[in-house]
Amino acid sequence: MTLRRLWRKAVNDVMLTMTGICAVLTASALFFILGYLIWNGSTSLDWNFFTKLPLSPGESGGGMANAIVGSAKIVFLGALIGVPVGFVAGVFLSEFSGKTLANTIRFTADLLNGVPSIVIGILAWALIVVPTRHFSAWAGGFALSLMVIPVTLRATEQFLGQVPLSLREGALALGASKWKSVATVVVPAARTGIMTGIILGVARISGETAPLLFTALNNQYWSKGFNEPTASLPVMIYNRAISAFDDFHRQAWAAGLVLLALVLVANIAARMVLAKGAAAHRG
């Protein structure tokens, strides 16, 4: 081989290796994060963590029960408002709407999706916190709902679009009206995909912190109902992490581990279901 040929072969092999290293590095970031959290957080995960309220630093036995319940409350509100809106809007786009209207709404939803979460928080603050003059789970839930709408919309539209024409026509040919055929045949046919899209969306909002900072704020105690400032897991993690106390740091690790575990499990489960569904479709 000539020198030039040897050089080209060497470049080829080097670039193959280097790009491979890039890929392995980025993929391993996840393991690194998970490992670090397990290493630092698993020891602080005890019964107290899940059942007790936070105590002052130095006092042992405290936990994040209120944050766990609070997150559940806020995420529940967010899903309650956002998922139906996204879903029904998706049905409209896929089944009823004309082309230009569909494009406009889809464009707007994509726009909303791209808005930084802190700016969404500002909107929720302006619409709910300001008139009611206090922070609340409602405000936090509303902010999160705005973030789950675009995700749900896209999933609904995508999976409804994959339902074959033959299925729709079969229902119509039996005398079903359009809305009935959609409700009883088309949507059930797409339900797996839509469900996984919703799960992914809810998993995403359960990890969001910024929009809660000045809507639901935080709370060291239990919050009654939905009208008070409410603790949430992400905000607690932030709060504890930037504090000066080791105790609090340990709690932040534990809470981070719980949050990440929840989010990852939801994501992996949803993706596996999606992959199985796609394979069945192809096969």
């Binding site: 081989m1 030039r4 040929r5 080209r8």
Partner: protein, 276 residues
């Protein structure tokens, strides 16, 4: 294309390929020789025991119905099937005495060029498209590249049409021009063999005839192997023709013989349009 008078019946396919014109130069052997080539896509066997010679500086056409393996066979000659997962070729393909199935594939591909079914110019200017192969193979100094580009474009009968717009994007050309560009690009690296995989199937008749004409000019410096769906095309340009069916090479001979007096019934059925 054909010789005068009676042609002695060949005993083996190989002898049929020997040039028997009166002033023929003594043949040292075919430019490219395939022996017992099998090809597998995973478990599926696409080619069965193909043996064929390609004489130097002649055009050999490979014809046959869709899916008969002629394109697959063509692609084994420059090992471009190596990029397909699960694809495997056995047997021997010898170029000037060397087995190409082993050895450096990039050098092989410089010597055995390929033109594809649909024009596939790079998203670069016309000039850079042609210069690409020259540059990566280090075949010319910077000053000479322009010469090489012009020469290749002339051989591809495209120079007059693009000489004023060498810097324009290749996509600005029509389909027929793009395909001639691809031929020029392949010629720029000075290949000894040029493989053409149904090069005119995406083109209109005028573009097709332009390309057929330039192929006749190219063969003086290059051995051409062309896969085609179009029997009339094979009759027009090819010196030799091979007929493929279901992954087997049924018959190969001088084009005239194949089309006028084929030896095998399958060939005759195909030629007369009884199937395929």
């Amino acid at each position: 294309m054909t010789t005068m008078g009676a042609i002695p019946q060949p005993e083996t396919k190989r002898e049929a390929m020997a040039d028997t014109t009166p002033d023929a130069k003594p043949q040292a052997g075919p430019k490219l020789r395939a022996s017992n080539v099998d090809f597998f896509y995973g478990k599926f066997q696409a080619l069965h025991n193909i043996s064929i010679d390609f004489p130097e500086n002649k055009i050999t056409a490979l014809i046959g119905p869709s899916g008969c393996g002629k394109s697959t066979f063509l692609r084994t000659l420059n090992r471009i099937n190596d990029t397909i997962r699960g694809a495997r070729a056995t047997g021997e393909v010898v170029l000037d005495g060397e087995n190409i199935m082993e050895g450096d594939v990039t050098e092989l591909r410089r010597r055995v060029g390929m033109v594809f079914q649909r024009p596939n110019p790079f998203p670069k200017s016309i000039f850079d498209n042609i210069a690409y192969g020259v540059r990566i193979n280090g075949m010319a100094r910077r000053g000479q590249i322009h010469e090489v580009v012009e020469r290749s474009l002339r051989r591809a009968a495209l120079w007059e049409e693009v000489k004023d717009k060498l810097n324009k994007s290749a996509y600005a050309l029509s389909g027929g021009q793009q395909q001639r560009l691809c031929i020029a690009r392949a010629l720029a690296v000075d290949p000894e063999v040029l493989l053409l995989d149904e090069p005119c199937s995406a083109l209109d008749p005028i573009a097709t005839s332009k390309i057929e004409e330039l192929l006749l000019g190219i063969k003086e410096q290059c051995t051409l192997i062309i896969v085609t769906h179009n029997m009339q095309q094979a009759a027009r340009v090819a010196d030799f023709t091979g007929f493929f069916l279901l992954g087997k090479l049924i018959e190969v001979n001088k084009t005239d013989i194949i089309f006028k007096t084929p030896a095998k019934k399958e060939t005759e059925d195909y030629i007369t349009g009884r199937f395929g």
